[in-house]
Amino acid sequence: MDCIKINNLLIDYIDNNLNIALSKRVKEHIDSCESCKADFNQMVILLKDMDSINDKFPSPEMKEKFMAMLEEEKRNQKVVEMDSREKGFVSLISSGWGQVGIGAAVLIIGFLMGFVFRPGSGSNSVQMLENEINLMKQIMMLSKFEGSSASERIQAVSFIQEQSEPDNELVEALIHTLDNDKNMNVRMAAASALSKYYSNPLAKEALVNALNKQKDPLMQITLINLFVELHDKTAVDGMRRIIIDQNSHDVVKSQAQKGIRALI
């Protein structure tokens, strides 16, 4: 079997989708052909990395570590001195959220310290710490939207999602991402995040509009499902339009029909 045919079988071979006979022939070829062996090794790594990147962001270990550090900070709260909290923030920033350099971290700390240490703010210290962390997260999120990679943007979206009431600036960032991001994964993450803030009229309007604007079948299906979950009848018009549109894919049309039936 020539190298081109083998190359086309590599992925199925790695996924274990080939029958025994074919598997054997691929293995024999790889063992004896240096260039195909090299391709094979590279493909193994590529597929493995693609599988792990497919897991949710941020990675579970990172989130666990952050939570543990948060608990640790809460426990250290009774010694409310500048020193221990500075150290806490620097280690929070430097571990796992990599993007912000130490210089920027110091600036952020300074900003937060100035914001938090207002005379006469009688709130309890744990609450203050949580507010500071939220603020810091928001600042980092805004900067991440200018970051180049899709994974960073998805991370930003998921951090925003953890806010119970993001301010309008963040909601608008989500809307902008939903409408404009080139990467469908990021748009889907933004749609899901916006659905959590459905009480916000801006978010609601953006999602309903997206049903008309997004032409990607996966996006359309995601949005339809969101509206059914949210019991929002105003989306029915958009769903009707999808059914009428000739360009809509059949699977999407049938999903829209189910959606309309569920909502009416």
Binding site: Q42, M50, E61, S94, N183
Partner: protein, 88 residues
Amino acid sequence: MQDMELDENIFKDGRDAYEEMEKQEKYKALREAIAQLNAEQQELIELSRFQGLKYEEISEITGNSVGAIKVKFHRTMNKLREHYFELV
């Protein structure tokens, strides 16, 4: 004694953070490699590898024949492999 424990923890955190950062760098490289593909290729990767759809299902969604999809898919994966190993 307590001081020594504290130092150890900081060191370990630093190592974990470094590993985490390396992982993130790798994923960034992979995402960038994917981004270098054209839109059709990216969709193919998304549907096939990330969403786990079979060729028949992808054929239904995109309207292309299963045969054409297989060819495009392998071509795309080879391209992706080239990009990725240029970056890493």
